[in-house]
């Protein structure tokens, strides 16, 4: 037990919060927290759906849970069922074999049903393109609010994508999807 306590004490809190350094990673944390609180109350719940990715995007989405990004500390949580989710975080390209599962997951998600497509493949099919076995981008299968390009996008970009989707509120108010690259950079 003492080893565990010593390790915890020695490492302290690694979550990146200090906004003074000017680097994007550090300012995003507190900003995001306020946004989430303002719009969704106490928490945002996300159901992640891998609809055919190479697993690269999943590695970076998983990284959001590490102490540096500390997603749960920001009031954002990944949940195990679409029925508990405010948002779907979908990676692609959508394979034909996952098309029905993705549609059903979308149908099972209660409003506001925000959808963020993560990665170049989710945005436009990426290097896999459209073929006999893929439907291409996520928006070809379900409505998408925000796309996060990158192969894979680093965790901080995924975090920005989530923030962008939350800012836009409910999909009913959304005329079309937002391309993160256009709005944020």
């Amino acid at each position: 037990m003492w080893r565990i306590l010593r390790q915890i004490a020695r490492n302290g809190i690694r979550t990146e919060t200090a906004p003074a350094c000017g680097d994007a990673l550090r300012v995003q944390g507190p900003l995001l927290h306020q946004e989430v609180l303002a719009i969704l109350g106490r928490a945002l719940t996300i159901r992640q759906v891998d609809a055919g990715s190479c697993n690269g995007c999943e590695l970076e989405i998983n990284a959001l849970n590490n102490p540096y990004y500390n997603l749960e500390g920001l009031g954002i949580k990944f949940v195990a069922s679409p029925r508990h989710a405010d948002m779907l975080l979908v990676t692609g390209p959508v394979s034909r074999n996952m098309e029905m599962a993705l549609r059903r997951t979308y149908d099972a998600t209660p409003a506001p049903k925000l959808v963020v497509a993560v990665g170049d493949c989710g945005c436009d099919g990426g290097i896999f393109g459209d073929g006999y076995a893929t439907c291409g981008r996520v928006a070809n299968v379900i409505p998408v609010d925000v796309t996060v390009p990158g192969c894979p996008p680093p965790p901080i970009d995924i975090l920005r994508g989530i923030l962008t989707a939350v800012r836009r509120g409910t999909p009913a108010a959304v005329a079309g999807e937002t391309h993160l690259r256009g709005e944020m950079r």
């Binding site: 690269g56 896999f128 006999y132």
Partner: protein
């Protein structure tokens, strides 16, 4: 031994490892399978190719065997279009792991293993008509037409008092890849697990034929994101073999640097996730922090956190300067110090060890019979590591120490990961302390005739294999066939055995301890 003399009589392809290609007849196909099995060799991959051109040419089934003498790649021509459906001798009696590969070949090319017990479709979930085969060259035989409803899959039913089924997936509860698991259980005890995979099938092998050979390493690097370095290296090795090109020594050292960094990154992530699956959140917090530190240095040194597209045909995309080398060297020391401490915590934590030990056991005998490979194989007494068995440059100068255990449980797979982290950190420091400078890339001259090549690399999960055929028309050299093989093909079926008799809540832990690829398997 007979098979050794036979193999050594074949001229190897120009590659850093001994890889030999041979065209055989049906009876030789079976005889070699039997001899390889008896000699303790492994079936590495089985796949089909369409080598027809208009009315001429044939369909071919190929097998790759891993032997002490190296890799033996057999081609068995199946006759022209007159034979329908074209068949070949079933390899399951010699190598049980052939079953799913044969079913995949049937889906993709319409070639059938004669007499195979299991003929259910594997990759085709109804996305294309059963009589259409997406890897056929004749568009009429591909039948890309409108797709039907997803087909029902005939799971094997377990019957008896109190037996019920738990279906899981394809969308899983965590942030992981999609696949379906059907558990037959009594109470909490798993009687049987049957997997259904193929949900991520996105036609990668067909896509290869649409890309120029000198660009397709980018696709290879996206077959399984966690093994991007291993796949890019294997593909580039195959392409360099086709072009009979030797990469500069510096490029080989840098490739090993990337590959060992990839191994450490994955092991760090897995060790955290494994503790988390045993409800020890401290482990996840610590190891995910170390993994993030590791990835950030990769970003600084190579411009990409996962090191995608760093390996290119003929060498590597860029070198590192001495300041970066120094930083990476120091990081190895820092990570090692932390992992040493964390290993003590894991070893002394009775709750964690209680979950790890005897859970999900695969005995060495079962592992050998089913062909369990890679990291999971080494945890079940299978002393197979390409870096030791066929030390190609630069591993011939590194003398890699293999990590093995014989218990075959989750604890053994955890222990092998710890050992391999320390060994990779040692290798990384040798590489980083070695001489730097020199060319990092050789221009490739692709031959103006049809040619074969193969690549074989020990990724963090196991050995990755790429078989490449170029069409070789002058001025327009295209990929005619690129088969990529993930070690998960061998290991997924063994996972079904590993969970028998365990309780359902231990499945995520056992599954994570194998950490197999869905994407690399489904293609």
């Amino acid at each position: 031994m007979l098979i050794s003399r036979f193999v050594e009589s074949i001229e190897p392809l120009p590659a850093p490892l001994p890889i030999r290609n041979l065209t055989v007849r049906s009876d030789t196909w079976r005889a070699i399978a039997k001899a390889v099995s008896a000699a303790g060799g492994r079936l590495l991959a089985l796949w089909g190719s369409d080598r027809t051109r208009g009315a001429s040419g044939v369909l071919v089934v190929s097998a790759a065997y891993a032997l002490r003498e190296g890799l033996l790649w057999l081609d068995l021509p199946l006759g022209g279009r007159s034979v329908n459906p074209p068949g070949y001798p079933d390899l399951v009696p010699f190598f049980p792991c052939a079953a799913r590969m044969q079913r995949a070949a049937a889906d993709l090319l319409g070639i059938i293993a004669e007499g195979a017990a299991d003929q259910r479709p594997w990759l085709n979930h109804g996305a294309w008509p059963a009589d259409g085969h997406p890897l056929r060259r004749d568009p009429r035989e591909r039948s890309h037409g409108p797709v039907g409803e997803a087909i029902d899959y005939a799971f094997v039913r377990v019957q008896g008092d109190g037996v019920h089924e738990i279906p899981v997936g394809p969308v899983h509860a965590g942030i992981i890849e999609p696949g379906h698991f059907r558990f037959s259980v009594v109470g909490e005890k798993v009687l049987r697990l049957e997997q259904r995979l193929g949900y991520k099938h996105k036609g990668i092998e067909a896509r290869f034929t649409e890309l120029p050979p000198l660009v397709a390493h980018r696709l290879a690097g996206r077959i399984s994101g966690d093994s991007t370095v291993a796949y890019a290296w294997a593909y580039c090795m195959a392409l360099e073999s086709v072009a009979a090109c030797t990469i500069p020594a510096r490029a080989a050292w840098l490739r090993a640097l990337l590959l060992e960094r990839e191994r450490v990154a994955n092991h760090l992530g897995d060790l955290g996730a494994l503790a988390n699956d045993a409800a020890f959140g401290f482990g996840l917090a610590q190891f995910s922090r170390l993994r993030e530190d590791w990835l950030r240095r990769s970003q600084d040194a190579f411009g990409h956190r996962l090191m995608m597209d760093c390996i290119v045909p003929g060498g590597v995309a860029s070198d590192i300067d001495s300041v970066t080398a120094e930083t990476l060297f120091r990081q190895c020391d820092a990570i090692e110090r932390e992992v040493v401490e964390l290993r003590k915590v894991y070893d002394e934590h009775s709750g964690l060890q209680d979950r790890f030990m005897t859970t999900g056991r695969v005995s060495p005998e079962l592992a050998a019979r089913l062909g369990l490979g890679g990291l999971a194989g080494r945890a079940s007494g299978q002393a197979v590591d390409l870096r030791c068995d066929q030390p190609h440059p630069p591993y011939h100068q590194l003398a890699v120490n293999i990590a093995t255990r014989r218990d075959g449980d989750v604890a053994a797979r955890v222990a092998v990961r710890f050992d391999e982290i320390f060994e990779s950190l040692r290798l990384l420091r040798v590489i980083l302390a070695g001489p730097d400078g020199g060319e990092t890339r050789t221009p490739l001259q692709l031959p103006a005739k049809p040619a074969l090549g193969a690549g074989w690399v020990e990724g963090w999960r196991g050995d990755v294999f790429v078989a490449l055929e170029l069409a070789g028309e002058p001025g327009a050299n295209t990929i005619r066939r690129c088969h990529v093989h993930d070690p998960s093909w061998q290991n997924w079926p063994v996972l079904e055995h590993a969970v028998i008799g365990n309780i359902v809540p231990d499945f995520p832990l056992i599954n994570k301890s194998f950490n197999l690829s869905y994407s690399g398997h489904d293609l």
